[in-house]
Symmetry: C2
Subunit: 358 residues, 2 copies
DNA sequence: AAAAAAATCGTGCACGTGCACGATTTACAA
DNA sequence: TTGTAAATCGTGCACGTGCACGATTTTTTT
């Protein structure tokens, strides 16, 4: 638990290699202008005595400044992507310590052209690293191909595309989270029917909607364990309370016995708000994501289980991976990093907090 | 999301205050030998232009070396305190970056004299900061009083004692965690009887056992919501499998209808191992703490809900608080920090990980 | 008032690295 | 051989802070 290594500096390496610190520095940073013979000697000595550059001295002396661009969807207050945005905000100060500036480029996730414009702007600004959520598959692939050819590292958050060009990925295992939701909902005995409310976007769906994977996981669990259960669907709208009122009233009129409800998108608070309005306290609701409205629904008891991921931590770790790659030239231990699925109830929600300052 | 502050150095402050950087440095570090008038001017300028010392330059120039001592119980592999120990291990490297060495002093938590000896050794070694778990109340108070008089900052983990001398506390809300356990266990309908297995230490209890608070929370929830439920207790031993087999067999012979089980200590794996041995798959078990054996019980389905805290993170944050206090002279935003209570089930346990490298 | 002591302050080197610049050596052509 | 270009390498300053040391000013003592 304790090592008191004497400090080994570049001067020690230089002395032992019979060269100057300038040459050692050139070797360490691959700046060329060094003979093969010298390079060999230097590397040998470094290996021998375990020289590690002093970050502080390095950062102090370096005048380099990097730019990290984040490509994420626009959002209204209280929406999922706001969490990502605040996660980025938390990382800004840390990044600045390493002479890395962070900027956000946002787009309308329901408008492909908007994504393309944003991608073009991103490339124009010549970032040294990129953090992105791959909403449109083909356009993202085009973008990452260009990044790869420019040798610009990029990190996926939220979801990822196949291929191995990315530095790292941080996200939630969507399929498993649906599976988990089903297992929690079916703890209760004697369920026959389940309601599932989805979001009606009027046809404007982004590609590869990750919530669909969640749904698959949910359905898979049911099929494996309770094949006799039936799931009834209906559609509500994110910003039309009166419409939702009518839809939900009508739904529960047609299905008066349904007590179990699940949503796969992040808007379960639309349900809990409805239940509160109608004073329906006997419903068993499972939903996702740490939106303020959802947490409120949990606190008031209208949402039984809320499954969340630590979105801010996710983003923070993504940016950390980039920082370490740029400053220390390290590669993350894992390329794919799945965040834990946290279960919130009325009795632990008040103690839940996402990121901590480090 | 972006601020391009020009770098403000101590020289700027000196210039604007009409003094030398030496004087400014004396003010910044409260090293005295500065006239009131100069001090005022310097502080005013600092406030005005928002000067922040450059950590890198500071760390580079400083020759100081600190020692942080951790006072925690000894443990056998797989026990709770091992988690604390690994948390400390994670922080060692980070601390070294700030010229802080970390050492552990351990004691037998069931032997008060051992605690006293450890406390004495700690004081003898003259640490600059301390992280401790306050197992014996009075002896801890004596220790912390001495630390306070020596002006040595200390951080509580696991539990804390009243008084405000500590720099920070990181732990789990024990009472609430018991409350939570009760709420999860009673999700099931038609329960009448609950089994609670406690650890028989043969009278060797440390003082202020935090698991008792957990039990209080559990009982409180029952009383408030299901006053008719009855809880039956029995005692098992941490390292005596045959004994436990007899006790548990006998218990379930006497109470064949009890399906719901809770433990408040960290050894719920003793229960799940018993259930596995007897192939009892219809029991509903709720327990605590992220021990490897407990996680295995969750995976195999013998433990329905395992309530955990992020112990490694807890310790890591405790040490971080100390580092920031010593290096940046900051005080933690919150003195009392309660960690989230995580709920693990068969379907999210494999994605659960505690600390991340930062 | 002069001397001594105390208070206050400025100067300059050190920390380990990055990198520009120029010095030196080597390679190659004339 | 000599000259020139290229390759290789060393020197020295800069980064911003900590702190020792000594210089200067103010206060106290005799």
């Amino acid at each position: 638990m304790e090592k008191d290594e004497k400090k080994i500096t570049i001067k020690d390496v230089a002395r032992l290699a019979g060269l100057s610190k300038g040459t050692v520095d050139r070797v360490v940073h691959n700046r060329g202008e060094v003979s093969e013979e010298s390079k060999r000697r230097v590397l040998e000595v470094i290996q021998q005595i375990g020289y590690k550059p002093n970050i502080y001295a390095s950062l102090l002396a370096s005048k380099k400044h990097y730019t990290l661009l984040c490509l994420i969807p626009k959002f209204c207050p209280g929406e999922y992507w706001e969490l990502v945005y605040t996660g980025i905000g938390r990382a800004v100060e840390r990044a600045r310590n390493y002479n890395i500036g962070i900027d956000v480029i946002s787009y309308d996730q329901f408008d492909r052209e908007s994504f393309r414009r944003a991608a073009r702007e991103l490339l124009d600004r010549n970032p040294q690293a990129v953090l992105l959520a791959p909403i449109y598959r083909n356009d993202t692939l085009a973008l990452t191909a260009e990044l790869t050819s420019r040798n610009v590292p990029y990190v996926y958050i939220d979801s990822r595309l196949e291929g191995s060009g990315y530095l790292a990925y941080f996200g939630m295992p969507m399929y498993q989270s649906g599976y988990l939701a089903a297992s929690l909902l079916t703890e209760q005995p004697d369920i026959r029917e389940i309601a599932n409310f989805r979001i009606d976007r009027g046809g404007a769906q982004p590609q590869d909607n990750p919530t669909l994977r969640r749904r698959e996981g949910f359905m898979a669990y049911l099929k494996e364990n309770f094949p006799e259960y039936r799931v009834y669907e209906d559609f509500i709208k994110p910003y039309d309370p009166e419409y939702n009122l009518r839809v939900l009233d009508s739904f529960f009129e047609r299905h008066p016995d349904i007590r179990h409800i699940v949503t796969f998108n992040s808007r379960v608070h639309l349900i809990s708000e409805y239940l509160e309005k109608r004073a329906l306290k006997d419903r068993f609701v499972v939903g996702f994501d740490k939106l303020a409205g959802n947490l409120e629904g949990v606190r008031k008891g209208y949402i039984k289980f809320l499954i969340t991921q630590r979105t801010e931590t996710q983003v923070y770790r993504g940016i950390t991976a980039i920082i370490e790659h740029m400053v220390f030239h390290t590669t993350p231990a894992e390329q794919d990093n799945f965040m834990s699925m946290d279960i919130l109830t009325k009795y632990n929600v008040d103690y839940y907090s996402d990121i901590y300052e480090f």
